[in-house]
Symmetry: C5
Subunit: 322 residues, 5 copies
């Protein structure tokens, strides 16, 4: 689906143009065309391929989707794939943004993502001095928007982790739920990590050392993106590590609780075993058991049994078993 198709000259918007007119505008000096597609059909991409002269392998990748994040040079043009991550309730929805960048055009195609880049375009159009940097700056603006949308996802994951941590240490660790939620959280962290980590290296190609032609003046901007990605990665790595520790700790808590239950079981078992043994002895049928004949044999026995059990109870209580 075509979202919009606009021509810019010297940082200023010329006009919305039709797809057929693209090639005319590409021929103008200091002019570039920025086309945005959403969930493009093969036919649309084929048209674009012709208009912009896109490389076959790049278009194939865009069609197949589910690529790992990357920035590839094809001659004097660039093909960038970044993963878009959106929250749908608790679930992560992974979309993909494919951007084709040439000296005088930018074609962005997002897949499986609800949120577009209209705000990015509007902001860029308000800052013509930046837009004069051309298609490289547009790539920056779009990628920056995508990366900025990672942060709330990271925050959500972090607060989820904190919730689980609290539950592990306060509500008792007996819950199967904790461990399942940790497992699930780890899965999400890994998903996000797969969106972020490969991109770090790739963005590194756009600043410092040799950069593709046209990206000479945007280096500081891409370094900024690189920096954000790096920060996200280190947060995710820490979370991954922390989740692993939390799983281990959870196991320890289960074992500790099991140990406590065991002790309590042992203590009560001991008390009742004593009671039962006493009762058993006075239940024996020997003819000559003098205490059975005593007037106060029964109350004395009961008191003795209660005392022993009481003493055991006191001892177990003191040593923390009960």
């Amino acid at each position: 689906m075509l979202i919009n198709c606009v021509a810019y000259q010297e940082g200023k918007k010329l006009c919305d143009i039709s797809v057929e007119a693209i090639s005319d505008y590409l021929a103008l000096p200091n002019c570039f065309v920025w086309v945005a597609l959403a969930d493009p059909q093969p036919g649309e991409l084929a048209t674009m391929k012709e208009e912009f002269g896109l490389h076959e392998l790049a278009v194939e990748d865009a069609l197949r989707g589910n690529q790992r994040p990357k920035i590839e040079e094809y001659g004097d043009s660039l093909f960038a794939v970044v993963r878009m991550v959106e929250l749908n309730g608790d679930e992560l929805v992974l979309g993909e943004l494919d951007v084709f960048v040439g000296p005088n055009y930018v074609l962005s195609a997002r897949n499986n993502a609800t949120k577009g880049f209209l705000g990015v375009r509007a902001r860029a159009e308000r800052e013509p001095h930046l837009l004069t940097m051309g298609s490289a700056f547009v790539l920056y603006a779009v990628m920056d928007a995508v990366v900025d949308r990672y942060f709330p996802v990271v925050d959500m994951l972090e607060s989820e982790l904190e919730k689980i941590e609290d539950r592990i240490f306060t509500e008792g660790s007996q819950s199967r739920d904790n461990i399942e939620r940790l497992y699930e959280l780890k899965r999400k962290v890994m998903q996000l990590r797969h969106a972020v980590v490969p991109l770090i290296d790739q963005v590194g190609k756009l600043y410092g050392g040799r950069v593709p032609p046209g990206f000479e003046h945007t280096q500081e901007y891409f370094r900024d993106i690189h920096d954000h990605l790096y920060r996200i990665q280190s947060t995710l790595d820490t979370m991954r590590d922390t989740i692993a520790t939390a799983i281990q700790v959870h196991l320890s808590m289960v074992a500790i609780e099991a140990g406590e239950v065991n002790k309590r079981l042992a203590a009560w078992a001991a008390i009742f075993a004593v009671l039962t043994a006493f009762a058993g002895i006075y239940g024996m049928n020997f003819e000559f058991m003098p205490e059975l004949k005593w007037r106060f044999g029964y109350p004395v026995a009961i008191i003795a049994m209660a005392s022993v059990c009481g003493y055991l109870y006191y001892r177990f209580k003191k040593s923390g078993w009960l």
Copy 2:
């Protein structure tokens, strides 16, 4: 076994030729020969060695089989080993494809693999503009086919992992089977990883920086393969990590279940211990136990015992032990 032996000139098939005629066609300009063998015998390889002037060490490796994936240069020719992975029911079958690539020939020899490359050849012949790139493009086409066949295997492994995950969290974790299947799955992941990971570095030699002569125009194609391999690797690494976590989680689930069983055991043990102790006390043979003489001693005792046990049951139920 010779599958076929064809001469191509300027991207077009000349004709099927006999093994003996190979050297004649190698002498023609802009011509290359593409020979495909399956499970080659030492004799066949010896013939080929002579026809194409293959390097002794490369032929030896091809004969011995079971090499790690690699791409080696011998003078102006290349020797590539890639692992073919096929599914036989649940099991992975590891085959090997050895490709000898010279300026004007390609000799591919597959071992222990049922699926050949006839489709690859047919497709290549339909695109003469690509086939004019010569033997380098043929190597790409064949490797691309091999790598593409990894994907369904990865998918199978992923869905197996999902099945096990579901079982861990839903059916109870008591099953030995889960852990055995996780172990088995890990083994398969490692097998596939051994096919994929060494190849990544090796393919890296065929694009960017210095490439072997004849591979100048296929760089973007090999980068594409590299990219696919990289994606598979990262999927496999995540699976490996997830399996390790799943094993740990499984252990936690076992411990949690054991704890629950323990508690239930403890609760019932407590209830019956109380019952038995009561009964024991009234079974004592003291002569002066007034309650034994009472008309309603027995029903009162039964009711008392039932009440105490009922109260315990209620308490245990409430605290989640039963």
Copy 3:
């Protein structure tokens, strides 16, 4: 909040100056201005941006805060972010110090940190021969102060770890508290690590090989900082590793203790089971049980029961179960 704003010439303090006068002093030869802000407001940073011609992205980073430690070049000026770590009771408080360094100015802005750099400035002013190295030396002095403040935090974490270790091995491992404190300690170690590790690479840009202009004569000083950071990192890595081991060890201790409790439980259960079984047998109502009629049947039975139980007790004691 402006802390101070001073002009220096040839290593010596000229005078405190007003913010408006900054540009005048920047024009003097061999003169540099050192401005210190605390928790700067957007307005203050905007003024400074104008006075010193700071780069937009750098100022944005300083405003947003919560950056990862880094040292970035913007043309002939430098933007450094370091994390300040202070202790508030047991908690780590993470602050941030942003330093803008130009050929003839230093602007430092600290956020969320109680301790300033007045001492650093005083010491620097007492050593004019060092201060003649200009703004590069000031950056060193400030960073050195920040890094030096990491050491007491590391010491605190180490002594906390030692305390927990002692408790694991001496007081018994049953405490949930140990594991929670280990988990908490790990979190703090990771926090400090995030302040230290990225800085190591970044400081590496300021000595050896190519350094930014103006930093030629301070290389040995920054190497010294690098060295301190490296030492902290290796300490933290060891702690992280040790904590992981301690968690595992703790689990082992819990298991060992559970095993001991189990054994003791088993031993006592055995003793009372024997007693109860004996008593049960003599409580049977068979008419012809000759021992029940014996004069000394009862005492003999009691002695026999006591002997068997005593023997069991002795055996269990000897084998360490009791």
Copy 4:
């Protein structure tokens, strides 16, 4: 002990020579001397040092033994240390092969290894066209033999691992033996790994990029060795990883089995507790317990007890506890 000492010229054996004659033959053009020692005495090495002008540090290393595998250049000569690994029953026997390689000599000294290199020498002498490559080829031939002898050791370790795996999953996991064998196996894997891994880097010095003089024509041969070592390393790394997983899995299996034992114990305990409680109740001495007077009280009670226990048995059986 001197094994043999032979002079070669242009790839052909001249004759066996005495140690004293070595220096004469070293002076001949296109001639090299190949000396093999086994468990050399200090005196022998001292003689060799003089004859060949070996470097002091290299000789010292050879005397001290127990070096890590390495290939060091001393001027225009080379000193190589490789570990020989032999099987003695189940145990690995670690020997060492020290090779001194100069432009016109090879001195090999093996220590603590039963198997020599006579076969290698014989094979080399049968292929004079290879032996003309001189001492570099001899080093290759000897190292190749050593590395080839690693493979059966790896196979043995792999089949040992498979045996243990089978036992873990089939015979029940209760055996202490499994875990001890895994531990032992890991030790062996690490031993072999220490022989292999350092050598990989070192062999890398002998092909690609800059190689020592005299090794220009043997590069493909050393790449072949490198390849074999790499394959062994990746097998060993997988084994190491698998053993770690197996230990974890074993622990899970122990926990699962313990859980099952626990359940069975709980089930039987419940059945007998019910029985005992019933019996206890009818053993109470109340005077007015009408059922005790009934004609069929006893059989009815027995039948009731049997029914309840039978029902419990059925329930437990169904839920898999028994």
Copy 5:
């Protein structure tokens, strides 16, 4: 404390000199001064700083102590820090050796170490041809001595590990002591590792590629030290890995033993539960229990009970529970 202060010329000892005379001898051609300090006071270091013109930061590091091992260049002089490790009973004592090396002087200062370097000096003086290499060789000799002293420490740690391993597998794993000793051992391994690992990189600066002036002829010697350090590191890494495995294995052994105890407990509990249930049944007070009236009711009941228990015992014995 000054140990000694000697001037050397062309590899031969000139004479012991006083501290004040140092500057005179530094002016002599081909002459160098070797000063050894032990636990130097600030005053002593200040004097030395003046005599030799040492760099401020280096002296500061030496005064503060507790530096990580490093070799730093300051202009044409070198500052080396190595950790001395001594055994005091079972404990590691960490000392530090600071060496300042200039073109014509060596100043070594050891801290917290009982063993000095008199032997090293004596050996060096006996080999004037080596001592002519000047201060670089002295640095080598001293560092070699320090590194050689690591080996017995490593051996001690290894034999400690072997002892613990034996105990884990032979004496039963119930001991808390094993796990504490493993933990302690790991701590020591990490301590030694911190002394060794940073030094490896640092020593790498003194051979191969670019070396500091004056170190051109000692490269093979420092490579030898590098090699020794590398060997120690790989031993320590294996130990670390093995200890981690041992802790896991220990946990498994604890679990296995717990399982066995559990089974034994279950078996005995079953036997006595049967006994008690039987006795309970015959202890019921029903009036019409014909077997109670039988002449041989009692002995038959006893025999029946013994038989059932005996059978259970046999079954449990056979299945390994008892």
